[in-house]
């Protein structure tokens, strides 16, 4: 096995026992990038020079017994997290030249452990999309089938992990942007509880929904990453002032008696048969492991997508106002101020971003606010209440992560509504603020991965990690790798 194919915890052992060096790991990772990246296109920026520079420091830390969990581990970062001194584009032309003068809290934690930063990964522009086709640079390919999308918006991070171009990655999830691509590429993706991980330095799409989370090859690695990135941050007023548990402690606990809720609204007629079969089999597997499956109802599920596209776009229309050509990023020449604003934003933003800015601007406009934004907030509360009441009867809720396997590049690109529906099972989780994880649970007939979503209570990451780990350890889906 090449070192780039290993997990964080697997490499940790080898590195700490000095059976391999950081340099050997990094060599294998960049060797892999050299051989597959022109086909996968997972990265916007590859930070090879900086990575090799840090190799020595990481090795020193290991040699002197000061290694942390991620010391010497090659990690990829979604290109919407600010990394001091390293280009951060959000896959947008409007930030094509933006080099942040400061570090995001999460990347600071990762880099503080002397992980090896492999590069900054592709995404849908400003994390708006479900396929990476909205990147203004290029579309990332699904390593399982290069004609298919990897999902999105964290498609670059997910493809990089699935293709072995890094050991693990971080992404951000506003409506499914970690879990949906993880499902489509056959790896693990966790969206933590809103407030569990600092958003400071994450370029905002929808502030009340965005959350950073790990993208890994297995559940144990996701828990390990959570141990590093979670925790209260005084720089983020929305980060919860709660103590962070040892997420890895949940691994290996059996799930006898665990009550799993199966929401009836998520198993609808016309759903992809292969997906349904994989998920039904997975539920059976969980029952075999001692869990008790219970049907639950999340009655406001049908309003989730509409609610999401009102609230997320409203916040986005305001969050993206700062890209105006005045301070940083793209500035288009113009005869006066208004023209500069208009030219810069016309050229700097792609079609989907513009669509969402317009949607959000409309929803917040005087005269429409009550009917849209305010109503959306009310429905959001109902959706949250749905989860609260379901969680009175069950410990976790299990659903498909995405309604289909990976779709073909271009298939939904011209139909925004079809594209929005690919997040139908993940969006409610963001609206409710609860955590969710996607683990591999099978393959479609075309050989494309299917993911199982396990949803937990607020700050219930340990329980979903426990369930996901128990499931994963009794299956072999997570061990399959795409042949590239």
């Amino acid at each position: 096995m090449k070192l780039n194919e290993m997990t964080i915890l697997g490499l940790r052992k080898l590195l700490d026992k000095r059976e391999v060096t950081v340099r050997e790991v990094v060599d294998d990772v960049y060797g892999r990038i050299d051989s597959v990246e022109d086909r996968v296109k997972a990265f916007i920026t590859i930070t090879r020079e900086e990575a090799y520079k840090n190799t020595e420091r990481a090795q020193e830390a290991i040699d002197s017994g000061r290694a942390s969990l991620l010391t010497g581990i090659p990690i990829a970062i979604k290109d919407n997290m600010c990394t001091k001194g390293i280009l951060t584009t959000c896959a947008s032309q409007i930030l094509h030249n933006f080099v942040p003068p400061y570090e995001s809290t999460v990347t600071g934690k990762l880099r503080g452990q002397d992980c090896v930063l492999v590069g900054k990964t592709n995404l849908d522009e400003f994390a708006m999309g479900s396929s990476t086709e909205n990147s203004s640079f290029h579309t990332t390919r699904n390593p399982w089938n290069l004609d298919c999308v990897p999902g999105g918006s964290s498609g670059g991070s997910v493809a990089a992990v699935a293709a072995g171009e890094c050991i693990a990655a971080v992404g951000s999830d506003t409506g499914g942007s970690i879990r949906q691509p993880a499902s489509l590429c056959g790896i693990v993706g966790l969206k933590p509880t809103y407030g569990r991980v600092s958003r400071y330095g994450l370029v905002a799409f929808a502030s009340s929904l965005d959350q950073i989370g790990p993208i890994t090859k297995d559940v144990a690695d996701a828990a390990a990453m959570m141990n590093v990135i979670a925790g209260h941050d005084p720089l983020d007023s929305t980060s919860a002032p709660v103590a962070s548990p040892d997420f890895m402690a949940a691994l290996g606990r059996d799930i006898k008696g665990l009550r799993i809720g199966i929401p009836r609204e998520y198993f609808i007629e016309g759903m992809d048969q292969d997906v349904e079969k994989s998920v039904r089999d997975a539920i059976k597997k969980l029952e075999d492991l001692g869990a008790r499956a219970v049907e639950v109802s999340l009655p406001h599920t049908q309003y989730a997508i509409a609610t999401y596209y009102i609230l997320a776009t409203s916040e986005a229309s305001s969050n993206l106002a700062r890209y105006d050509g005045v301070k940083y990023g793209l500035r288009e020449p113009a005869k006066d101020l208004i023209d500069m604003y208009m030219n810069t934003r016309a050229k700097g933003f792609g079609a989907e971003v513009k669509r969402r800015i317009m949607l959000g601007t409309y929803a917040l406009s005087s005269g429409y606010y009550d009917a849209y934004y305010k109503k959306g907030q009310q429905v959001r509360t109902l959706i949250k209440n749905d989860f609260d009441s379901a969680f009175r009867d069950v410990d976790v809720i299990v659903t498909p992560t995405a309604p289909t396997g990976a779709f073909r590049i271009g298939e939904k690109a011209t139909d925004p509504l079809q594209m929005y529906l690919s997040d139908i099972f993940t969006i409610s989780v963001n609206l409710a603020g609860v955590p969710g994880i996607s683990v591999p649970c099978g393959f479609t007939r075309e050989g494309l991965p299917v993911g199982l979503q396990i949803i937990g209570k607020h700050f219930g990451e340990e329980t979903i990690l426990q369930a996901a780990h128990a499931f994963e350890q009794s299956t072999e889906w997570h061990l399959r790798r795409p042949s590239l």
Partner: protein, 487 residues
């Protein structure tokens, strides 16, 4: 409205309705959402960071001190303090606003339903405070001397502001000015704002309308912006009242609009109409938690409040027996009130101190455009001077000269009197000699006096004072003159 006489008669038909929106910069050391300094006057963009510059990915963190200051203000203005208030985003594009939205408060402000008292024609008038909310200040655009470019200075961006909104309770420009003065006084008493209108730490927008007396509904209002000095509060409002009345009298209609006060030209100019008004698309700020203020905290702040102008005014009236006019004037500024009390504590008669402060001292301060903190003259020095008057060492008239010298030099009254030889002459024989000299030179005046023109006593007093360089003890002089003239 053609000529002056008609004009004033027509003006009297209309009632003026004014409400003020006052922006006060809070005197916190750091900005409202980051730790940059709020100090005024630094080189452009040297007091900025990624947060106040609005870099991608940054988040605001609330400055607790700013909330505390706003609560202090709310309590001092008799507001109720909301146990739960929220920030909102006010969205508009402008280069001095780096995020292109201002974090402000909208639906749930921190303070509401307050009132402030002003004194108008010796009557107490209560002005309602609708709300006090918090927000961040914007930066400054610099256009002058930059060729075809404009520059932006973001040092001021994120400085904490309070917006104090009054009810439309003000009925004249004078009331508006008094209210502004009162607000400034309270803010300065509290130490939450330095109240400097010229530097922009206190700013005022005015909503103003007129209606015929007796009409219930308000007239259409205009909003005046850019009133950046105390002097202009009254001037701008007076201009606007005349303009509105003349539009109505000429059969026109007032357009609801924002108007800019042009202080150089002394006029208000249309800036934008209601139709052009921004749609700010307010919505709750998702990056900040709601502000939850516990009763304990409010009680703690309440306990720490200083004595406020109204309380102090009432105390000055009862404790020192001052008339309300004096008490009001001496308590508008905390430093003035403190100065007064120190002088009284040094042993002076309160009314005498009040007279000297409101007369000579304030006149000189006004002339020099100084505040009482700027002068070296100390309250106990004034007390020393008043003692010399009481003891008859100097006359009240000489004291004026002495006081001015004290004010200019910071020296004690004794030293100035000694240096300039200003000690009052109380030696009767010396004064009698001077009186005799004058009487000898003025037979005509004596005759007229004795014939009944008793006002001429002033002439004799003046002549003797002139001869003695003002040093003759006035009482002795008076007695002597009367004795000698009425023979």
């Amino acid at each position: 409205m053609k000529n002056g006489v008609d004009a004033s008669a027509i003006m009297k038909k209309y009632e003026v309705v004014i409400g003020l929106e006052v922006h006060a910069q809070l005197l916190t050391d750091t900005k409202i959402f980051c730790r940059c300094s709020t100090k005024f006057g630094a080189e452009p963009n040297t007091q900025t960071c990624q947060v106040c510059i609005g870099m991608p990915g940054v988040l605001p963190v609330m400055n607790r001190k700013a909330i505390e200051y706003a609560i202090r203000t709310g309590l001092a203005m008799n507001c109720s303090i909301a146990p739960y208030s929220r920030f909102a985003r006010k969205n508009y594009f402008y280069p001095d606003l780096p995020k292109n939205y201002q974090i402000s408060q909208y639906e749930l402000p921190l303070c509401e339903h307050g009132l402030v008292e002003i004194i108008i024609d010796n009557e107490v008038k209560r002005i309602g405070i609708t709300r006090i909310h918090m927000e961040e200040d914007a930066g400054k655009n610099i256009h002058e001397g930059k060729g075809d470019h404009s520059f932006v200075d973001l040092n001021r961006t994120g400085v904490p502001l309070m917006e104090i909104v009054s009810e439309p309770d003000l009925r004249s420009p004078r009331e508006a000015a008094e209210y502004m003065k009162k607000l400034r006084g309270i803010l300065r008493y509290l130490g939450v704002c330095d109240g400097n209108m010229e530097q922009g730490s206190l700013r005022c927008d005015a909503n103003i309308s007129v209606r015929p007396f007796g009409q219930k509904e308000f007239g259409t209002r205009t909003e005046l912006k850019n009133i950046n000095s105390f002097k202009f509060v009254e001037k701008a409002l007076e201009y606007e009242i005349k303009r509105q009345i003349s539009v109505i009298e000429d059969g026109g209609k007032i357009i609801q609009e924002t108007r800019l006060w042009d202080s150089a030209a002394g006029v208000t100019l249309s800036m934008r109409s209601k139709e052009e008004a921004h749609d700010y698309r307010y919505f709750p700020e998702p990056d900040l938690a709601p502000v939850v203020v516990g009763q304990d905290w409010i009680a703690e702040i309440k306990k720490s409040l200083p004595e406020l102008p109204d309380e102090k005014r009432n105390r000055f009236m009862t404790q020192y027996g001052l008339p309300d006019h004096d008490a009001e004037l001496l308590t508008v500024e905390r430093a003035v009130a403190d100065w007064f009390e120190l002088a009284v504590q040094a042993g002076s008669q309160p009314k005498a101190v009040a007279n000297w402060m409101m007369g000579d001292l304030m006149r000189m301060l006004n002339e020099d455009n100084k505040s009482i903190e700027d002068v070296t003259l100390k309250p106990d020095q004034m007390a020393g001077m008043l003692k010399m008057i009481d003891e008859g060492t100097i006359s009240g008239k000489i004291a004026k000269t002495v006081f001015e010298a004290m004010y200019r030099t910071g020296k004690n009254a004794e030293d100035i009197v000694k240096e300039q030889g200003l000690v009052q002459i109380s030696d009767t024989s010396e004064i009698e000699k001077a009186v005799d000299d004058i009487l000898a030179k003025s037979p005509g005046e004596i005759e007229r006096f004795r014939a009944g023109d008793e006002k001429l006593i002033g002439f004799f007093v003046g002549q003797v004072m002139k001869a003695t360089k003002g040093k003759a003890n006035p009482k002795i002089l008076n007695d002597l003159l009367i004795k000698k003239l009425r023979v």
